[in-house]
Subunit: 186 residues, 2 copies
DNA sequence: GTCTATATCAAGATAGAC
DNA sequence: GTCTATCTTGATATAGAC
């Protein structure tokens, strides 16, 4: 990476994300991306030989962004046992639902196409767990908090979360309490 | 419902589930179902005028089964504050991954097709929360445990759970402990 | 109530010009 | 590196026979 051709690639991914946001994952087609980007289908296929490669690129970008977002949150938090898990919760539940939706869309599209393509995420999750427990947070506690965070984000991304604003705050507060409580109990 | 034509409908849904299990959600087509069921495409379309209606039927069945499974577990458990949540955790994480996968597939296919179709699940989840907290379990605690359960199931259904058998047991044990601890703290 | 046959259409992918 | 044109496939839907 680093060539100037990257910009075209990146621009195409931008447009693909737009399409997903506006039309939904099921309507992400080369045609739609071509129309919106000004690039022809053939042009697109130079950069992404098939749809799978485009979806992978979208997923990769989402992973990168998620990690960046988490690191940013982390840098704003004081040191301590719960620093990593709190960064995960807060960055995972940030209020930019649109952005989350894009990642989820690539995710679902890949899951439908070939679940095997999600394998890299397993490795990713493993690394996350390592980081979360690095400072002494109990493994089980870290896992439960991380899983609940991801479950809530999933529900919200799919607009099927039944929780109102106040209930959501209470849930987030509970996650925080569980992260800290563990520290004391140690 | 209750007509004898129901059996044909049910059989078609059975086959559709089979296809999803064997080929993946992305390859669920009328053609594939027709080939496997002996019923022609035209015959299928009599029962399900379009793919969306088939997916909805699959999702409905999955919801029914999940509820049944939870109620069954519930009946095996002693009374107590944590009875409902424990039934949810245990039935949600039961080891029949194949069955879970079918529900998830219909779920993802609907999410890709039109996320709005998942709206009924919001109501469903609301009802679940009501049941979980009926016996005095704190709302936030119930939500966190339920969300973590669902997050773990999602990861497992997509074969992206990084946890081995022993780690999984520890996570489940932690969920149980959180359900009971809450009781004591009350 | 279930089938055959067929129409329509859109998507992914290819080949080769510029 | 990007384009046009074209090929192939397969999914959805319709009409009407049995």
């Amino acid at each position: 990476m680093g060539r100037h051709s990257d910009s075209a690639r990146e621009r195409i991914i931008d447009v693909a994300e737009q399409v997903v946001i506006e039309l939904g994952a099921g309507h992400l087609t080369f045609d739609a991306v071509a129309a919106k980007s000004g690039v022809s289908r053939g042009g697109l296929l130079y950069h992404f030989p098939n749809k799978e490669s485009l979806l992978k690129a979208m997923l990769d970008r989402h992973i990168e962004r998620s990690t960046e977002s988490r690191m940013k949150k982390r840098s704003e938090l004081p040191e301590g046992v719960e620093r990593e898990i709190v960064a995960h919760v807060l960055s995972g539940l940030e209020r930019d639902v649109r952005r989350q939706r894009v990642g989820a869309a690539a995710f679902f599209a890949l899951a439908a196409h070939d679940p095997g393509l999600l394998a890299p995420l397993k490795e990713q999750y493993r690394k996350l767990m390592d980081q979360l427990t690095r400072n002494g947070l109990r493994f089980e506690r870290a896992a439960v908090i991380a899983l609940a965070t991801d479950g809530l984000r999933l529900a919200e991304v799919l607009s099927m979360s039944p929780f109102d604003k106040e209930e959501r705050s209470r849930i987030v507060a509970e996650l925080m309490a569980l992260a800290k409580e563990n520290k004391r109990a140690k």
